[in-house]
């Protein structure tokens, strides 16, 4: 366990997750479905016992199913291998594993046919007959399985063990996350799945986030909460350091809600404003809603982050309502020309200084006529560090004033020594800036 502390919980209904695909096994594509399914299962009170990745080989698929069943899991969820080509084997192997004959579902074949007809209208050159034949295969399913309607062309399946047979129920889902995720909701709603996980404990999950304290401080806080008599045993608490923020994710039974609330209050009392999110919202969401609520606008002048903060702010649809523009000012000349930083200021304090960060923020605000301005200048490394200004030193300024006004009315200007390599320093710097922006939007300022 490196940077996460996990309080493991009680025994629960267990499940296995089987990810198929040679391209995943050989590292060409990285799997996102296994961890996602594991989190979804946790929320249903089902513990994932293992996530296993195997290639598109019949024997390997069958062996994995049998070995998972041997560990006593109640459910196996598979992803991938539902396409129309010959190496897509999952439905057939699962049918055999569950002791069910493969049959053509004529109504399903027709529905898949309609999906293909619609697709053919966009690709008129495609070979219609070949496509229809390939997709007929996708309508051959284990007898008695529940069909999950396709989001692409591949249907999913919930396959219980054959009558009189023992063993897990298998949920069969396609590989693309955009198809798998909505079909998972259908699987969870099915009678066959509900029956398979009967007896699972009902859980809630809640997340709070902190910024600006070391992870060790949270371990101390949890120990103090325990010593103060809080019933932490009723809670499964996971703490995790993500992009410089601490995320505390807690799973608990409904009866322990008061214990959870007491823990959040305890954290709030000890850490004050460092606890920036009690409802799981991210800093990106808070900044976006802060801009929209207040009708503020923002402009940036970035040096070491090289456009990363602008890219992060404009990630969200609708961000053009408040992001007016930005400047990437890598050279000293660009800092003066685009953001109006006096060359004498750079000569006196150096390009990486809180003075220049402040001037960049003021210059960005003035030039774009916005209410907020942000300046960032620092040393991302690996070169460029000195004993006085080491790699990782980043200076930030966020200023605020009436849009169009020449002078700002408040500002937060800070310098930080950020750990890690070039990419980590740049990434972490955008997070620091997001928190300063949120605080200025909230009315703070020196």
């Amino acid at each position: 366990v490196t940077d996460a502390a996990v309080y493991t919980g009680r025994a629960a209904v267990r499940a296995g997750i089987l990810v198929t695909g040679t391209e995943v096994l050989t590292g060409i594509i990285s799997d996102r479905n296994g961890p996602w399914l594991s989190e979804q299962l946790l929320d249903l009170g089902v513990d994932a016992a293992m996530i296993e990745i195997v290639g598109d080989r019949r024997e390997d698929l069958r062996t994995a199913l049998e070995q998972m069943a041997a560990t006593g899991v109640a459910v196996i969820v598979t992803s991938g291998g539902l396409g129309p080509t010959a190496d897509d084997l999952t439905a057939e192997v699962v049918g055999g594993f569950c002791g069910r004959e493969m049959v053509l579902d004529a109504a399903l074949e027709e529905r898949i046919g309609e999906i293909i007809e619609r697709a053919l209208q966009r690709w008129p050159d495609a070979d219609r007959e070949a496509l229809r034949a390939a997709n007929r295969k996708q309508a051959v399913i284990p007898n008695g399985a529940t069909v999950l309607e396709p989001r692409g062309t591949a249907p999913g399946l919930v396959v219980p063990p054959a009558k009189g047979g023992a063993g897990p129920t298998v949920v069969v889902l396609p590989g693309p996350p955009g198809e798998l995720q909505p079909m998972w909701a259908d699987a969870v709603a099915s009678d066959a799945f509900r029956l398979a996980i009967a007896g699972a404990t009902e859980y809630r999950r809640a997340i709070v986030r902190l910024f600006g304290i070391p992870e060790a401080a949270i371990a101390n806080t949890l120990r103090a909460a325990d010593a103060a008599g809080l019933r932490l045993r009723a809670l499964e608490i996971t703490t995790c350091l993500r992009r410089g923020e601490i995320e505390i994710s807690t799973r608990f039974e409904p009866a322990a809600e008061a214990d959870y609330d007491a823990l959040v209050e305890f954290i709030a009392t000890r850490h004050g404003k460092r606890l920036f999110s009690r409802n799981g919202s991210t800093i990106d969401e808070q900044v976006a809603s802060g801009f929209l609520r207040a009708g503020e606008t923002i402009a940036l002048a970035e040096s070491c982050t090289g456009g990363l903060l602008a890219a992060r702010l404009t990630e969200r649809p609708g961000s053009s309502a408040y992001v007016v523009g930005g400047a990437v000012v890598y050279s000293d000349e660009a800092k003066s020309d685009l953001a109006g930083v006096e060359p004498s200021l750079i000569a006196e304090h150096g390009a990486v200084s809180v003075e220049v960060a402040r001037a960049l923020a003021e210059g960005a605000r003035r030039r774009f006529g916005t209410s907020l301005g942000v300046g960032i200048t620092g040393i991302a490394g690996p070169g460029g560090g000195t004993p006085e200004k080491p790699v990782g030193l980043v200076c930030f300024s966020v200023v605020h004033g009436a849009a169009g006004a020449a002078t700002s009315s408040r500002a937060l200007t800070r310098s930080r020594n950020l750990p890690g390599e070039r990419a980590a320093v740049r990434e972490r710097a955008t997070t620091v800036a997001m928190h300063l922006i949120a605080r200025v939007l909230g009315g703070e300022g020196d």
Copy 2:
């Protein structure tokens, strides 16, 4: 199989990869070691049969080892669970699995002690005795195992089956990738590992990359190569669509080198300049070396990519030698004010047009006094699309001229309809721009 076509190869020595850690199993941390180890094994002629993730539970670890052994793998590689705390169980469970007694390695304990003493000099407040005791546990290893020197504090192990016993050799590595990767090289060099994979075929691996053709075209090319009599059976070819580029990764025995060379020539003849990398180099590497070789400089004016291209160009250490600066010009006013685009040009052609892209590129080049200028304007979505200018339409221009000269001497200006959602359109647009930059650096221009 969704966007990768895999030609599966012959039977080879097989291995299992076992990733341990509740924080990985529950999706809090995403595993990078499994896919990395799988690729490394492939290069040694060893096929990963499965990657399995289990939590920090003794029974689950032991069961996973036994089930992998039952599939006949020659080697199992584990990652994680080597720390000093009680839930770090891997060494002990592996020792039991291999039928070897756990013994204290006094020399190893001393070496770990020295590492801890050095660390203590940085954290003088730490509890020395508790640390020493916790780390003594890390020096207790299966009798007869080969020790891999620690990169953090945790030693790795190569553990053969006990004398007279059958079963796989187990390579035990720590979880942090920065420790695991150098220790993997030590493991591979050990006699115990070499013995375990004796009989594995020696392979080479090579990568070529194409840009600007649909993935189906590569499937056609491979079929044509087969029909033309190339010995594709001697090659294991994997094609994969990554960020809009097609990557063809091929594994082959040294004797098949001429067959591989023939395939690359075949691809080059059919696809010409679309084959932009014959040696596996990425477009980012090519652009960076192009700038450094030619002494060129670059400035950007980005609208829909919102700073992503500037961030991508400045990702590389040393990029400040050629990236002078950029402007993120989201609003029409910013396009005019920062990049000197005539408002009448926007009124006539619309902000998303090849004319405005060209003007942005010229404006960026002029304003920053660089030899190259880039302009990007488009509709990333989800809103803002029209029947004439749908979501995904992005216009690009890269211009080139003598630094400081008012007019450019050559330019590539293009528009593209990029597929996918907002994040995909923005990401793909930076890739298109990188390729246009590479072409202009190479002397192309309308």
